[in-house]
């Protein structure tokens, strides 16, 4: 038991279970209902994927605040293509093409961030704050600020479909989380990312190709954002420059909650997954209990500070 409590992920798993049990106990028939469980499974993947993007940026000691901007820009480009070129009766192949286009837009957006941070040496928090606004600006310019509608019905599958009763967004998130977990722990790129985050100066002194690592990493963040943007678009059956604006804060919160060290070097994908789950349980549960959205955000904030406090105190005790 004490071993579980000693690791950040162990504590997080415990918190997730406690939140789930608590919410199930407070309103058993509604929280545990199939409708609620299914709706949760459709809701969280889009911001959970953004949280993964923020988390991997945080591993380097940086952050990506442009994830929502990049997600919307990618979605707008894909939606414009589907609405204007493909038309409402486009098939799955055209949707797949649109998805690839979204990924490319995300890639370019991420490369832009990477160059700002790695080549030009701007502080990630400011560089991505600025680039996020630029991405949103492009999306607004392309759409005039209104939603792009008239998507083919095949596009709805990725946000609303199921595979063996499992929601497609959940499957996408699970696959991405597993792939990222593997990438970060089993590849030289993942190890370099961590080592750079742990001590950028020592990484330079060890002749690591730090610039290339950072550029690839931000490109990865951009592509993850594009996937999230595509899911949002599919669920909303439209794309807009300012969808999901509350997701940025949520994504940062989940990454920190998930035990990713904001100063870099430490963090596990499993932690981010657990943090996503506990946040979703909490927010759905509170919703069912009739707690207003405003109070919910306050509770999120309190939860964030509480978890960081516990992590800090636990670290102080062991050192």
């Amino acid at each position: 038991m004490s071993r579980i409590l000693h690791s950040t992920e162990g504590r997080l798993a415990l918190i997730t279970i406690v939140v789930f049990v608590l919410m199930a106990a407070l309103s058993p028939e509604r929280f545990l209902s199939p409708q609620n469980l299914t709706s949760m499974a459709f809701q969280f993947p889009e911001f959970a994927i953004l949280a993964l993007a923020v988390a991997v940026a945080m591993l380097t000691g940086g952050i990506d605040l442009s994830v929502v901007g990049a997600a919307n820009l990618s979605a707008v480009v894909a939606a414009l293509f589907m609405a204007n070129v493909v038309g409402a009766d486009g098939g799955a192949g055209m949707v797949a093409l649109a998805f690839v286009m979204a990924l490319c837009v995300g890639l370019v957006a991420g490369l832009f961030n990477g160059v700002l941070v790695a080549t030009l040496g701007l502080p990630p928090i400011l560089a991505t704050l600025g680039s996020g606004l630029i991405f949103t600006g492009f999306a607004i310019a392309m759409t005039g600020g209104s939603a792009v509608m008239g998507l083919p019905s095949a596009a709805a599958w990725i946000g609303n479909g199921t595979i063996l009763w499992i929601p497609v967004p959940l499957v996408v998130f699970a696959l991405l989380a597993a792939a990222l977990g593997w990438l970060m722990s089993r590849t030289s790129f993942g190890l370099k990312t961590r080592m750079f985050g742990a001590n950028p100066l020592a990484a330079r002194y060890a002749a690591m190709d730090t610039g290339a690592v950072l550029i690839k990493l931000y490109a990865l963040c951009g592509m993850l954002s594009a996937v999230a943007g595509f899911i949002v678009m599919s669920r909303a059956n439209s794309a807009k420059a300012d969808y999901g604006s509350s997701y940025l804060l949520l994504a940062v919160l989940i990454a920190v909650l998930g035990g990713v060290n904001p100063y870099g070097g430490y963090g596990r994908i499993i932690g981010v997954v657990l943090a996503v789950l506990s946040m979703q349980f909490l927010s759905s549960g509170l919703n069912l209990l009739g707690v207003t959205n405003f109070a919910r955000e306050m509770i999120w904030g309190a939860l964030l500070i509480a978890v960081m406090l516990i992590n800090t105190l636990a670290k102080r005790r062991t050192s």
Partner: protein
Amino acid sequence: MTDTSAPLVTLEGVTKRYAAITALSEVDLTIRAGEAVCLAGENGSGKSTLIKVLVGVERPSAGRILFDGVPQTRLTPTAATRAGMQVIFQDFSLFPNLSVAENIAMTAERATGARLVHRRRARERAREVLDRIGVDLDLDARVERLPVAHKQLVAICRALAADARLIIMDEPTTALTEREVARLLDLIRRLKADGVAVLFVSHKLAEVLEVCEHVVVLRNGEKVADGPAETFDAASLTRAMTGRDVAETPPEPLDPSASDLLKVENLTKDGAFRDVSLTLRAGEVLGVAGLLGSGRTSLAKALFGLATPDSGRVTLDGTDVPLGDPIAAAGAGIGYVPEDRLTEGLFLEQSIARNIAVGRLEAHASGGVLNLRDLWEEAAEWLKRLSVKAPDPQAPVRSLSGGNQQRVVLARWMARQPRVLILNGPSVGVDVGSKAEIHAIISDLAARGLGVIVISDDLPELLGTCHRILVMKAGVITDEVAGGEGITEDDLSHRLAS
């Protein structure tokens, strides 16, 4: 004359433990007003912990601290400052962009609780202090433009302006020339006459012995020697600090037919070094001796591409090494073991294995996927080869002693099989046993045909390990001497600091 009043500072059985490590073990120390005490010890002997305990930054695990005979039960930095304890760190912690007067008056003004800065009052106060110690400095000069010795004066004045009764000086002489040291000693005599006590803390204290009443030597957190300064000399101090005589491993004589390996021609970087030329032969250990600020570290960084020189050329085996690019330098076969192991050399929280492997991750990966078993096995092999006492290659490198940490950095570079290895301060913060073993590693590397450059301010180390030693002063190589028996330590030290 015997002083019957309570001593200014008394430490009784002070012990400080960090988790499993005992940094200080039952240390007693007494400092009287107007007395200079010399606290000697190697890096890691507990000197800095003792300072921290004395000024309230760290709380002792056991023992008592008394100021003027009054026990201090909950000593805080503020309380220590109020009691007149002032530390002058090696870097002086001055504000480079402020004037001399502002720097001197800063702490004192803060202590009065005034929220506004009074320019005129600051000047008056600074002038008073300068007059008190009979020193003349331009009050309006910006501190960043001053030479090191003057910065030190400003720091001393600042301590005095804050009503210092004990000035603790950390490594006060490392960056000073002989003449500047003499001037500092004069000043210390005046301070003592004025009733101010001084605690010198250093691993090289022979030069301040003459103004000290008392010498205390720490080793591994314990007080191993304590006595009147007259009973110590440079040799006995070293013996007390190290506990034994270091067995040196002189390098094998250089093969006269050895080829030129690394050639540096007219390398210049404005403000750091000028017109540096040198040739390193295969199998040669070349020393670079210089005081702090002589340009020795800038030169090393430039050779490894961490700084871009303004002009000049570096060739390895006749092929140009691109300047200002560490990846290219490493690719060409140059390795660099940095001076500050903790911030530049190691990823402290990461595992020992990762710290070793990070230099050549590509070799452990196919298509980007790491072969973790291969990585761990190689790390374990290096740990064995360099006899690192590590319980587990998966443990964070932080858990190792200084000597073992240094070997981890060495292993990282040796695994890359470099042609030239630059070692900056290879035995800083390393215990005596490890030091001898690191020297043996250097000698072994040279025997395998590597070119090794050792940069150090530890003269016996240079004399013991190098074939040749270059003397660097104010960014210029001024002298070249043969290592080994060719020259004495005193002679070399004189050439460095004169």
